[in-house]
Each structure stands twice: as C-alpha cells, then as structure tokens.
C-alpha cells in the first residue's frame, strides 16, 4: 500500500471536484425532438459556425460545424436557426428593474440603461444599452448599442436574496409605492407615476423603477433626482438609499453582488424566446381585419389564424393587435415584410417596419409593425433604444 492508493487520491480528488449543476434530461429530450422536427421539416439548415454564435464555450476547442444549441452572444430580433429556446417556457416574475447603471467603460461618462427581470425559476433576463453611441459594450452583447436580451440563472438562494432586497426597499418606501396592473410595463405602461423617491444628484442609480408583482397587481417604486419632475417627491433617507443601492447592485451587476452559492449558471447567454409577438399599431384605431389588410398579403395570411391580443404600443402612440407566433412563424412573417420600410434601429435595436401611409391615408400617422419576444411571464418585451 503506497501513500497514493485509491482512498487517498479519491479523497484528494473529491476535495477538488467542482459542484455539479442540476441535470436537465427534459432539455435533452426536447432538443432531440426539435432536431428531428427540423430534419423532417421543409427547411433543412446546416448551421455554419460563425464567430458570434457559439455552442457554449469550451475553451478554444475547434468546434467545426457542431450544431448550434446555446447562444453565448446576444442577438436582436430573431435567433439563429436551431438555437435552443430558454426553458421553462413560462415562469412567474419576481422582480423587475429599469434604470441607469454605471457604464462598463471608464471612457464613458454617461450611464447605461439596464433592465432586468428575475423569475421564480431562477432566470435573470436583462439587457444593457449605453446611453449614447460608442458607449461600452459587454462581451456577450449583440452589438455596441444593445446587448440584446441576455440570461443567467440564479439558484433559489439567489432569487431569495433579490426578492428580499426588493421587499426591503419597498417596505422602507411604503408611502411612495404605487399599484399598477401586473404584467404592465412599469415605465411605459398606461399608469403615469405621480410620486417618486428623490435621490441626490450624484447618486447612482440616479433614476429608475422597480416593480414587484403580487397577484394581479404590481407594487411599483420610482426614484430620480428633483429634475425628474414627478408630481410629488420625497427625499430618500440614508436607509432607503442603502436599500436602493443593494437592489441596484443585485440587478445590474449580480456577478459581483451575489455569492457563488446564489448561482445556478452564472455564464451569460442569450435569452431565446419560444414565441414572438407580431404587433401592428396604427392611429386612429382599426379593427383586426382592417389592420391585417394594411400588411402585405402573405404576412396577413400568416397571421390571420394566430392568437390575437389587442394592445397599445407602449413606446409610441398607437393601438393595435399583437399576434402570437412561434419562432419559425416570426421568421416567415419577417420574410413577408421584407419589402416594407425599416424603422431606424432595425437590426440594431429591434425589428420594426413602417408603412409609408397611415391606415386612413393621413400623413404623419404611420402604421408600425414590430416583432418582439415573449417573456416567460407572458408579457411582450418592449425593445428599442430606450426600452
């Protein structure tokens, strides 16, 4: 028996073994089914390996033409063919954040815009945009203007830390917390804010909104400096500033703010939705048939029988309909819309087209068509330069 026998080395190796992740056999089965469907479908793609789309990085191994599964790089609009959708398809939203954040680059003297959504299953989906062109770029981002929607996964402990930090801030700011319908965008939604917490001019985050769903309502808290011009403002106490700073750290830089035990998958990946919304907005309002009639015939045909939700455009004036389509359906609609004028920011911030003439022929009231991802809580994302 030497010192280097089975038992001793086994103990040495056991002490050095990393902690494995939870298994996901269902994902394997789903991938297998998807691969079969693709191979039997009408469109057979052999996905070329491109620098921006990597199978989860394995050092610098030469992957050749390995089929793409997981995207390590954000994207705008639709994912590359074959990308694995994020799972589970649906989940409850725990906390939502939208606000400024310190830029990633020391050369940048203005803030980034960061949004983050934490879900009960552990996913934290986020995007980051420099406040002006030429700002900082995160390595996993889609482009220098927009990270695209990215995803990491928290362990239950991480979700609880975020939930507790948000609850603490709301509890400390009870008088300023407003109720809005759950699922409504806390910033762009229809419920204007009247009250806000006031933070000092040099404070980071100097502006933002936090929302925590509870049943069919969400508790919303806004903050900003006095220049924000809300109807009623209340200067933040040191305790509120501290609690706000904690939430800010957890949601804009969770890798630094959370312990390793709070993570399930810290590696940043693209959020790949399972479904997309094709939305048509116009003014004055039109009924569904009239709205569809504005589109190229092929696009209208693709959408006619899809689930439809009347909605308002959260970022620009207009009301209309959103049609729910699967990713391949969204791809076909995109092809069918290819002859339309693309809105500024197409491909760098969103997929949005504009009909040159309004539904009623009135100049200045164009019809917009956009394709946006669904989030796990069923809401339609609001893309664009400033969300």
């Amino acid at each position: 028996m030497t010192l280097y026998d089975d038992g001793l080395l086994a103990a040495q190796f056991a002490a050095l073994a990393p902690e494995p992740l939870e298994g996901r056999w269902d994902d394997v089965l789903r991938e297998a089914a998807a691969a079969t469907a693709v191979s039997q479908g009408r469109r057979r793609y052999h996905v070329a390996f491109v620098a921006a789309v990597l199978v989860a990085a394995i050092g610098t191994a030469a992957y050749g033409t390995v089929r793409v599964l997981i995207l390590d790089q954000g994207f705008i609009g639709l994912p590359p063919v074959g990308a694995t959708p994020s799972t589970p398809e649906s989940s409850d939203l725990v906390v939502e954040w939208f606000g400024f954040a310190e830029p990633l680059s020391a050369q940048q003297n203005r803030r980034d815009m960061v949004r983050a959504w934490v879900y009960a299953d552990g996913r934290i989906i986020w995007d980051r945009r420099p406040h002006y062109l030429g700002g900082s770029r995160i390595p996993e981002g889609a482009n220098e203007l927009n990270s695209g929607y990215l995803e990491q996964r928290l362990a239950p402990e991480g979700v609880e830390l975020v939930r507790a930090a948000a609850a603490r801030l709301l509890a400390q700011s009870r008088a300023l917390v407003e109720e809005i319908p759950a699922g409504e965008d806390p910033w762009w939604g229809s419920h204007d804010s009247r009250v806000a917490l006031v933070v000092p001019d040099d404070y980071v985050p100097e502006w933002g909104v936090l929302a925590v769903p509870d049943g069919d309502r969400s508790a919303r808290l806004l903050w900003g400096n006095y220049d924000a011009g809300f109807e009623s403002m209340s200067a933040a106490t040191p305790e509120q500033l501290s609690a706000l700073r904690r939430v800010y750290a957890l949601l804009t830089d969770p890798a630094s703010a959370l312990p390793s035990s709070a993570w399930s998958v810290q590696k940043v990946r693209a959020y790949v939705p399972s479904h997309y919304a094709v939305c048509i907005y116009t003014s004055p309002p039109k009924d569904a048939a009239e709205l569809l009639s504005l589109l190229p015939g092929r696009a209208a045909e693709l959408l006619r029988d899809k689930p439809r939700t009347p909605t308002a455009d959260l970022a620009t004036p207009g009301v209309g309909d959103c049609y729910e389509v699967e990713t391949e359906g969204a791809r076909e609609v995109t092809d069918a819309l290819s002859g339309l004028v693309r809105e500024e920011g197409w491909g760098t911030h969103w997929l949005r087209w504009r009909l040159d003439e309004a539904a009623d022929g009135t100049p200045g009231n164009p019809t917009d068509i956009s394709i946006e991802p669904y989030f796990p809580d069923g809401r339609i994302a609001t893309s664009g330069p400033f969300g």
Binding site: T2, A10, A15, P20, W25, L29, E31, A57, A61, L69
Partner: protein, 160 residues
C-alpha cells in the same frame, strides 16, 4: 439490450451519472457550466444516434466516448484515438496546487486515467473501454501514475 429500450437506458444513465459526467468533463472544458453543455450535447447525440451503439461494450462507455469527442471538438463516428485524449486539469488548481502540479506533469494518458478513476468514478474495465485500452493496461497505467505522483509529492503535501 433492445434498441427500443435504449432511450430509457440513456435516461437512467443520465439521471444516475450526469454529475460524474459534469465533474469529469469540467476538467476538460474548464468550467462546470460548459461541462454541463457538453453533457447535454453528448446525451443528445447518443439519443439521435442510437443505431450506432452496437452493444459490444457498456452504454456508459459509449456515451463517455461521445462526450469526449464533443468536448475536444471532434466530429465523426470513429473511435476516440489515443492522440485525441482530452487534456485534463483541475478547474481550481489553487485549492491544492501541489497535487495539481504533480498531476499536470503526468503523461496525458495517465492523467486521463487518473481523472476517469477519481472524477468519473469508473472501474478499470470502464476506463479501458473509454480509452480503448485493455483492463490490464489501465492497471499498469494507474500504477505508473501513482508511482510518479509519489515521486512528486511528499507525505505532508498530500495530507488530506
């Protein structure tokens, strides 16, 4: 083993052994997260290519070979060649630098055998299957590895 039952056998193997696969493969890929991706891809390929499993070895050995091919980026259905052995190392060598350094100095096949033994928890026969060498050769390989480690490390350095 019938082909019809192979999917459930693969599921059973995954559920029993995915942690061992992750731990072992993290020594190839450098992180548990990327190792998890390799595990997923390896089992996916196993599911899709069930017909390639001839049943003349163990199912687990077959999946290990697929996993290594995925991990080192190799394509094709040929057997894993000796010169394609994955280059393995501890993910966090700072936790036992002496052992990490000693293991790193082992020839690649001995190093792979050591990791398969202690991270993948494979028997000599299974290691042989994965590496494509006889069980006796595995014993000799591991014995030689122990000897080299013994020469590298003092009793104090390897004390647990």
């Amino acid at each position: 083993m019938s082909m019809g039952g192979l999917e459930s056998d693969l599921e059973d193997l995954y559920r029993r052994r995915h942690r061992a696969f992750q731990v072992m493969l993290s020594s190839v890929t450098g992180s548990v997260e990327s190792a998890m991706d390799v595990v997923q891809e390896a089992f996916l390929r196993a599911l899709r290519n069930q017909g390639d499993f001839r049943g003349d070895g163990s199912l687990e050995g077959w999946v290990w070979r697929i996993a290594f091919r995925v991990a080192i980026g190799s394509q094709g259905s040929r057997e894993l060649a000796l010169d394609e052995l994955p280059d393995v190392a501890f993910v966090d060598k700072s936790r036992n630098e002496a052992l990490a350094a000693a293991v790193r100095r082992l020839p690649r096949q001995r190093r792979a055998a050591i990791f398969l033994r202690y991270f993948a928890d494979l028997s000599y026969a299974e290691i042989g299957e994965v590496l494509g060498i006889a069980e006796g050769t595995v014993a000799a390989t591991l014995s030689q590895a122990y000897k080299e480690l013994g020469a590298e490390l003092s009793t104090e350095e390897v004390a647990v």
